[in-house]
């Protein structure tokens, strides 16, 4: 069998695989459809180049296979052709880069009405903190983390008192409301990734990173850690529940604030002291 046929088969097979693949993006559940659109555009342009180049190659190996005495073209350079190809490629590149950078510009500019959510990552789990009534997150430090202060919130900072602390790994979000995820890591690099939201960013210990998105589909979504963080990396999962405003408010009301936590601990200490006193 002529090798050209097999190469042609590879090209056609790739195209068919792409058209009929059952493995495609998850249904998008956020505002970042523009990313999907840019990927589609890249498929058209890039895929087009791949197919054209490979088909031309297949054509050549069919038409110009070795024959004794064949008339071969001796033309070391063709400036006109080279210029045309350079210009065409540059145009193609610009056609991909321009939309991509516009989308990226939106990605790094967070809308003013975005709700702030701090995501804490640690080996190998997640916890969350919301700013509470005053809308400001209290300052916090890894060095201040203790059993009594699992988020390391600065006790002197008044803004931190009303912060809502969520120690389990399920985060609830309001639908159709932009969210700015502030990432904070307590140990190594992690990454809070929900495929349906498309957006992601690494959590770096020592600094606070961010990204934003607007969930627009009610449902439950799995969170995957997307930056290698040791042996538990593959098991570091969480859940995001996107729900209506009403359900969200119900959930928020049930969550504990930092001052609640402090009060609970003081109560316990009091009880322990009382118990100790009565036992003396």
């Amino acid at each position: 069998m002529h090798p050209g046929i097999i190469f042609l088969g590879v090209i056609i097979g790739s195209v068919l695989f792409h058209i009929f693949t059952p493995w495609w993006w998850t249904d998008i559940a956020s505002n970042w459809g523009a990313m999907d659109d840019t990927i589609n555009l890249t498929f058209w342009i890039g895929g087009g180049v791949f197919i054209l180049v490979c088909l031309f190659m297949v054509y050549c190996i069919f038409k110009f296979s070795y024959k004794e005495g064949r008339n071969v073209e001796y033309k070391p350079e063709d400036h006109k052709l080279e210029k045309i190809l350079t210009i065409a490629t540059t145009v193609g590149v610009i056609a991909l880069l321009a939309p991509g950078l516009i989308v990226y510009n939106n990605y790094i500019n967070v809308p003013k009405n975005a709700l702030q959510v701090e995501v804490n990552a640690w080996q190998w789990g997640w916890q969350y903190r919301l700013p509470g009534e005053d809308g400001i997150l209290g300052t916090a430090q890894v060095a201040k983390i203790t059993d009594d202060n699992p988020f390391g919130i600065n006790l002197d900072d008044p803004n931190g008192k009303d912060d809502i602390l969520i120690e389990d790994d399920v985060l609830h979000l309001k639908t159709d409301r932009p969210v700015k995820i502030l990432l904070r890591s307590l140990d190594v690099l992690h990454n809070y990734y929900v495929p349906q939201f498309r957006a992601k960013m690494d959590a770096i210990p020592g600094i606070i990173t961010y990204y934003w998105f607007e969930p627009n589909k009610i449902g439950e979504y799995e969170v995957l850690c997307a930056e290698y963080c040791g042996v538990g990396h593959y098991a570091m999962r969480a859940k995001v529940i996107v729900e209506s405003e009403g359900n969200y408010e119900n959930w928020i009301k049930k969550q504990e604030t930092f001052s609640d936590l402090i009060a609970k601990q003081e109560n316990n200490k009091l009880k322990t002291t009382l118990v100790a006193k009565t036992n003396d």
Binding site: F7, V10, F17, T21, W23, W24, W25, W32, M35, I39, T42, V49, F50, V53, F56, M57, C60, I61, F64, S65, Y66, R70, V72, E73, Y74, K75, P76, E77, D78, E82, T89, T90, V93, L96, G100, L101, Y104, Y107, I108, Q141, A143, I145, D187, V188, L189, Y193, P195, K200, D202, A203, I204, P205, G206, I207, E222, L224, Y228, C229, G230, V231
Partner: protein, 610 residues
């Protein structure tokens, strides 16, 4: 033994067909006399000085080749273990998460650094550079010999890490801190130290070798060999070596700093960290600094692998299509341009790293700019095939396989270079599929094609075409079917570096695909036994090759003895009259004109002046 070397009477001046106006003499075969006396070579006489501590670049090249292939086989076996865990986890209960991550890390580091880089630069570079530029050996044969033994020691240190307590490092080939040196990662004690030491030794060794390659190409070419008459193989290896000289320092610095962070508890890369309820002694360091240093090395590194492949494949296509490579000057400028630009794109590996977001604009732009010269090279390869006379032998098949896989991998690189597109795809299987296709399969196609092409020169015998074709089709079709579907796992969101995929809706749907990929990987892996058998058996029963069996033009085929002896050229150094791509010149009797053929012998041929 020197050709017409006469220091007093020979003025130093530049001469090439482009700069010389008219010939200084009526002789159309005139080539400027030698500027330098003959190189003073050390000839070994004992077994040790001829085969162990040998200063002959050809022997050193084979030593590099064999050592690199050995590490590559270790890397290949590790990949089988990884794939078995991913495809059929219940078959391999002994592979724990710790083991898996150690396999992942060692596989990656071995393949990128110890296999591909060493093979292209140390293996092909050492063997081909002196031959292709017309020198008797490298300019510093002693240092060259030392460079191989440094590499060998670096490999030993790396392999030793398999046997230390805690095992080899499992930090991922990118070795990101803080996890690389913390207990949550396997091998975070001796394993990571040995890795960092091994890499440092590797850098020192390759600096020594790199000096040899660059200076031999710049200063030790034979008479008539201008830079623009060198085969593209040399241009590719030359540019890659220049990249290595400038990129390895960043790796060395990052290794030193991480070693200090581990051994002396410094805080270069280590911020405040909470481990097991305790705040560690570190404070104030920057993990992102490591990433900048690592990728300033890491991105040129992938071009160090790719550029020699580009150069070699150009020569292979040209010889076996019996046609000059199209647009040679553009190809040279593209190689040099890609090399230079490769220093300005590194942070496209860091789009979601938490670096300053504004950098994303800059690096996305430079990354997509670098796509232009790369695309031009691809066009030139296929235009070379147009109106050529293509021998469909094993070498050509590997070249065609390279074109398909490289274009595929290059295009997926465009996806990832565009920052907004990279965000959902980063750290997923899309990235793994991309870099395996463009850096694993494509250069591997070139390596295999190059072995089939140059084996007759090195061993004096031809490899079996029949076995070669079987080897090619299984490898190409198998590898393509491993990595092409893998891109789609990235689309559904499967993250990389996952030991297993329990319970996720994404991956439950891809279980069958994972199994298929694993089976394909095992088949392709075992098919390489055909290749090894071909090489070993052809050494004794292969058809004797004679001189220049492929009817190529470049110098390495024109030595008086095949395989070439020490000193390469016998009594007289060759004299060059043309570029290596005079195939099927109109008016010429044969379909090739070697570089040493003087114009008077092919007076009827309408060559273009080169």
């Amino acid at each position: 033994m020197s050709d017409e070397y006469n220091q007093k009477n020979t003025p130093l001046e530049a001469q090439s067909s482009e700069t010389i106006s008219g010939t200084p003499s009526k002789d159309i075969d005139y080539v400027r006399p030698a500027e330098l006396p003959e190189q003073d070579l050390y000839h070994g006489h004992s077994f040790i000085t001829k085969w162990i501590f040998c200063q002959d670049a050809k022997v050193i090249g084979i030593q590099y080749f064999l050592t690199a292939v050995f590490t590559g086989i270790v890397g290949l076996v590790l990949s089988w273990l990884m794939r078995l865990q991913l495809g059929f986890p219940e078959l391999v209960p002994f592979i724990t998460a710790e083991h898996y991550y150690q396999f992942v890390t060692m596989h990656g580091m071995i393949m990128v650094v110890y296999f591909l880089t060493a093979l292209f630069l140390g293996g092909f570079g050492n063997y081909l550079i002196p031959l292709m530029v017309g020198a008797r050996d490298m300019v510093f044969p002693y240092v060259n010999m030392l460079s191989f033994w440094m590499f060998f020691i670096a490999v030993c240190v790396l392999m030793a890490s398999f046997f230390v307590p805690g095992g080899p490092t499992g930090a991922g080939w990118t070795l990101y801190p803080p996890q690389a040196i913390l207990p949550g990662t396997p091998g975070s004690n001796m394993g990571i130290i040995l890795m960092l030491v091994s890499l440092s030794l590797f850098v020192i060794g390759f600096t020594m070798g790199g000096l040899n390659y660059i200076i031999t190409i710049l200063q030790a070419r034979t008479r008539g060999m201008t830079l623009m008459r060198m085969p593209l193989t040399i241009w590719g290896i030359f540019t890659a070596t220049a990249l290595a000289m400038l990129a390895f320092p960043a790796l060395l610095v990052s290794c030193i700093m991480m070693t200090l962070d581990k051994m002396l508890e410094t805080s270069f890369f280590m911020p405040a960290i909470l481990q097991a309820g305790e705040v560690l002694n570190y404070e104030g360091g920057s993990p992102v600094l490591f990433q900048h240093l690592f990728w300033f090395f890491g991105h040129p590194e992938v071009y160090i692998v790719a550029l020699p492949a580009f150069g070699i494949v150009s020569d292979l296509i040209s010889v076996h299509a019996r046609k000059n490579i199209f647009g040679y000057r553009m190809m040279v400028w593209a190689i040099v341009g890609i090399g230079a630009l490769s220093f300005f794109v590194w942070a496209h590996h860091m789009y979601v790293s938490g670096m300053n977001p504004w950098f994303g604009f800059f690096f996305a732009t430079t990354t997509l700019i670098i796509a232009v010269p790369t695309a031009l090279k691809v066009y030139n390869w296929i235009i070379t095939l147009f109106r050529a006379n293509i021998r469909m032998n094993t070498v050509m098949l590997f070249c065609l396989g390279f074109i398909v896989t490289f274009v595929n991998g290059g295009i997926t690189g465009i996806f990832l270079g565009n920052v907004a597109v990279d965000i959902p795809l980063s750290d997923t299987y899309f990235v793994i599929a991309h870099f395996h296709m463009v850096m694993g399969i494509a250069p591997l196609m070139v390596i295999m094609g190059a072995v089939y092409h140059w084996f007759p020169l090195v061993a004096g015998r031809m490899l079996s075409e029949k076995l070669g074709k079987w080897h090619f089709w299984i490898t190409f079709l198998g590898a393509y079917s491993i990595y092409f579907p893998m891109h789609y796992l990235g689309f559904i969101g499967v993250p990389r570096r996952y030991y297993e995929m329990y319970d996720s809706p994404y991956v439950a749907s891809a279980t069958g695909m994972n199994e298929f990929i694993t089976v394909a990987a095992l088949i392709v892996g075992f098919a390489q036994l055909i290749f090894i058998y071909n090489i070993v058996s052809s050494l004794s029963i292969g058809k004797p090759a004679g001189k220049n069996p492929w009817k190529a033009n470049s110098l390495e085929w024109l030595t008086p003895e095949v395989p070439p002896a020490h000193g390469n050229w016998g009594e007289k150094l060759p004299v060059i009259h043309r570029w290596p791509y005079d195939f099927n010149v109109p008016g010429a009797k044969e379909d090739y004109i070697t570089q040493t053929t003087p114009p008077s012998e092919v007076i009827s041929a309408k060559v273009e002046k080169t």
